[in-house]
Symmetry: none
Subunit: 245 residues, 2 copies
Amino acid sequence: MVNDIEVVVEAASKSTPAANLGTILIVEDDPRMQKVLRRIFVEEQYAAVVAGDGQAGLDLFRSERPLAVVLDLILPHISGRELCQTFKKLSSETPIVVLSAITEVADKVLLLELGADDYVTKPFSPRELTARVQAAIRRQHKPSAQTIYRFDDCEIDFKKMTARRSGNPVILTAHEFKLLKYFTDNVERVLTREVLLNEVWGYNAFPTTRTVDNQILKLRQKLESDPADPRHLLTIYGAGYKFVP
Amino acid sequence: MVNDIEVVVEAASKSTPAANLGTILIVEDDPRMQKVLRRIFVEEQYAAVVAGDGQAGLDLFRSERPLAVVLDLILPHISGRELCQTFKKLSSETPIVVLSAITEVADKVLLLELGADDYVTKPFSPRELTARVQAAIRRQHKPSAQTIYRFDDCEIDFKKMTARRSGNPVILTAHEFKLLKYFTDNVERVLTREVLLNEVWGYNAFPTTRTVDNQILKLRQKLESDPADPRHLLTIYGAGYKFVP
DNA sequence: TCGGAATGTCACCAGATTGTAATTATTGTC
DNA sequence: GACAATAATTACAATCTGGTGACATTCCGA
């Protein structure tokens, strides 16, 4: 599974507190969970609309044109699976993140076949849910956005997951792409190992900090003209790493 | 594989009694676990205060203004759930990471409902806990509006860790940035060596040390037009140093 | 002006930080 | 289930920082 790539959307000036980031449709029957989910997204500056059953979900989906849908699979009347498919038929653009209990995870393939873009198993942390939803939004929201990144004599296509240096193909692993993506999304900024571990490696991985160094090493060996004297993936002694194009 | 918590990491880095990263409030009744938790955070350069029950937790929360709270759900007298809600009422800003046994997670809905920002199930690895707490802290810290600081003909970007004087790049070390940051955050205030050592270095040092003076010297040489006649990093004879933009 | 105390300055090197590769563990594939 | 690819850990070498201490200079009260 290719994991979501955590991106800090910071280019936009944050001195615009009023406007929300968009609407999230929450389809969930349990009132307590409704409240929790709404709060989670409201705190992240989204607007949240809540549907207690499938029909209300469909109505709101049509009227609100949500940025993304958070869908609990266990619903009365219409099964969550049906609903998921219907959403995708109505608007295949809109990303859907499914909430599922641990026992249901077995058929995650089926889940994704239904059109879900990602899933989060209960129990989950607020951070995990919002991160996955935001990642799903980013993926869908700017499909034609520049996926090809160039610097020096390197050319990275994050969509095709291919890379070239001086025209020659370079093989990068999925993890290396993910790390590199985070660097290209945070150009010039000093990123500590802690941040990289949290943002690139993800929620459930807790490797040692030397792991980061090793991945940096790999990237340098593959992308820098002289890995011993890097010009793009710079070490900031005592702090972390910084990418400069 | 998640390591058992009893596997105590023996690092014994040079003791740093006065913390520099901030205070973590640990609410935990089991004395053994208290010790383990405190150690985990102290090793990560945090200060840790421990409360054995809910009342002590509340008191410390109010008096210490912790950066984050680590809360074990099973507590005597006040239930962890109540406590969690109370914390959030007192300061919704402060992130709360809940410790819970897997068997307790059945109540996961309630858990999130109460305002916990994340949770870690036992058994957990030290790294997992600190990573989640740090992520919660970082997330809660709104990206500071302005990371670029200007004075005279100097321009400091603390995020990129770059500095310029009259447009020309100046190389500062991580420590120098940290010291300079403290000065720019405390403009016009006289800062004694003791304060600087506590806040920037993070420990109480011998009063005879020339360490602070040395770092000041470095900063002057790099940032002042005439290091011998500083106009920004001023010496206050008999007291300390003062920064004026 | 003088003398003692506080500060400025410099260079060295111990210890911390990072680079690197080999080894081990994990994951994915057939 | 064996194999290959990828990732994480470990170990050690290379590198850099900044604390230390010696000494010079400046400050301030008498």
